[in-house]
Symmetry: none
Subunit: 169 residues, 2 copies
Amino acid sequence: MALNKILGKNKQVIFYGFSLAALLFLLKWLELKFLIIDHAMEIYIGSIAVIFTSLGIWLALKLTNPKVKTVVVEKEVFIDKLVEKEVFLPAPIQDFSINQNALQQSGLSKRELEVLQLIATGMSNQEIAEKLFVSLPTIKTHASTIFEKLDAKRRTQAIEKAKKMGLVA
Amino acid sequence: MALNKILGKNKQVIFYGFSLAALLFLLKWLELKFLIIDHAMEIYIGSIAVIFTSLGIWLALKLTNPKVKTVVVEKEVFIDKLVEKEVFLPAPIQDFSINQNALQQSGLSKRELEVLQLIATGMSNQEIAEKLFVSLPTIKTHASTIFEKLDAKRRTQAIEKAKKMGLVA
DNA sequence: GCATAAATCATACTTTGGTATCAGTGAAAA
DNA sequence: TTTTCACTGATACCAAAGTATGATTTATGC
């Protein structure tokens, strides 16, 4: 299972490699064609810069796994004196992509993520089973695979890891 | 399984690195064979490509994965006179200001808070007992009273409520 | 001194969680 | 078409969690 995943990802990398090769050859060709005109030099360099910057961004998005997850922290003090409240907003834009990346990294399926999130809310397996209209053994099976994938011994540990990975709020 | 994943990821990076290296050498070879002139140009273009690819990767990493460790900062407001000569908490040194207020609301004792925080890290009762040098029944008793005070049925639910109350990080 | 509460421990019991093994189905990919 | 995989489910068993009850010790407030 894990072996297949590695092979699959390497296939992707090979694809990246060939894309890069094609791109470089294209640039070679462009160079040969436009090198006669000196004024095209800036455009040429600029194009390369833009193209490879994009390539870098794309590569990074594809190959990296986000490490730290921001946690929304809201704190209130209210003891008959003044109230101080500080809210740290996480960046709202990349929330989706981060979760997607974390999801892929963890290897969890959609259903498993769903169960994990319900576990994190403090629900019992029985309650989760009823909420999702499946049987208790099914939830137990999901839970077991979740723990295995997250390398957790208990559900509480899975919650901790999931929070740090940004899989749950 | 997590180990395999790490290996897989490193494999990707290594693979990509070698692919890039191979491509550059290929280009060099082609250049030497077909275009004996203008070596500087090739190197220049290649450098730009590499540099901007790196720039793209760096940009992507910076944009999508801001390492924002959310830190709970709270200016403490004194509570009339109930703050007696308080002893220093042994375990949760890091966030002194977090608990005090929420602590009084919840009615948890110092020891109970300590146990609760360890529960939230994913530890089992047995592990907590060993860490605190007490017996397993003691931790169970603490846990039960904690759940009662937090009005939680399970430890996972207690974790959820504790997080929302700011009792745990 | 005495009541109170926190912290400790024990024993017995019930419930839930977690593992192991097996298996059927349906959809998607090779 | 065959294979793979996600999802589902069942049974059985063991481990851990949680409850109930009772008890001892220590420190603190009245």
